[in-house]
């Protein structure tokens, strides 16, 4: 059985796109929610300082904590992106192996 490379490529891209889209649909709301929460927190810290409920030495520490939380959120998004790429490539490899093994009629890949 002959393999149609263009059709196989279309199937592989479809498999990759499905995985990448699914990852992004889960990661995007998290990224947006985390950005909003950190922004609200920053505003509250400044407002608390202005109102006198948060001391100056506390503001410095809270800002450092905020920077750390923001870095962690960005690391999380980056790592999710790497997981998405990994899953997409592995999904493509699965489509390829199925097509090749079907064509040669034995488990070559």
């Amino acid at each position: 059985m002959k393999i149609d490379a263009d059709q196989l490529a279309t199937d592989i891209i479809a498999a990759m796109r499905a995985v990448l889209t699914a990852h992004w649909q889960k990661a995007a709301p998290y990224a947006e929610a985390e950005a909003k929460k950190l922004a609200i927190c920053a505003a509250q810290i400044e407002a608390g300082y202005a109102a006198g409920t948060i001391l100056q030495e506390e503001v410095v520490i809270l800002r450092d904590m905020q920077a750390s939380a923001a870095r962690a959120a960005l690391t999380s998004i980056t790592t999710i992106g790497a997981i998405a790429a990994q899953d997409a490539i592995n999904a493509a490899l699965k489509v390829l192996s199925t097509a090749v093994n079907t064509a040669v009629k034995f488990p070559l890949l």
Binding site: L38, T53, I61, L62, M65, T75, T78, I89, L93, L96
Partner: protein, 171 residues
């Protein structure tokens, strides 16, 4: 003087491959290299469960501090245990290759626990209003834990995160 070449090299055959054929060729190479790729460490249930346990202990501690107004000196053991727990989880996570995301976020959490202790030394972690330091500290520590948990969830569930609590995609 006209120097003619003694011989002419045969023209190189040009491969006229489409983008799709190039993709298939690339994937075949990848397959021969090891059948699958790994960009991020695989899921480790011990790391995930340990992070979750520390999350619970930390939130219980912050709730108790908000209610009782306990001093740093009275509650120093929490900080010692939290740092020890994070060091243990980092040690376990470091055994897996390509686990930088989890390791970096554990370091950020550890640093924020240290900053929490500094705040606690200034005064008790009381106050539940949005303009109180204790309220905002809790939000920021929660953010650290969410970042860690989000990575572990994607490692475990892949693209099916949020679809089902126990679904595991083919990998």
């Amino acid at each position: 003087m006209n120097i003619a070449p003694a011989y002419r090299l045969p023209a190189k055959p040009r491969a006229n491959l489409s983008a799709g054929q190039c993709l298939v060729a690339l994937l075949i190479l990848l397959f021969q290299a090891g059948c699958s790729v790994l960009f991020v460490a695989p899921y480790d249930s011990v790391v995930d469960q340990s992070i979750n346990d520390l999350h619970v202990r930390t939130i219980v501690f912050l709730d108790r501090m908000a209610r009782t107004g306990g001093s740093f000196a009275e509650n120093r053991s929490f900080y010692d245990e939290a740092h020890g727990t994070i060091a243990t989880i980092r040690s376990r996570a470091a055994m897996l290759p390509k686990n930088e995301g989890t390791l970096n976020n554990l370091k950020e959490l550890d640093d924020n626990i240290t900053r929490l202790a500094v705040l606690h030394k200034i005064r008790p972690l009381t106050g539940t209003g949005t303009l109180d330091p204790a309220y905002n500290v809790r939000e920021l520590i929660e953010s650290n834990f969410r970042s860690l948990t989000r990575i572990e969830l994607h490692k475990k569930l892949g693209s099916s995160v949020g679809k089902s609590a126990d679904a595991k995609p083919a990998s």
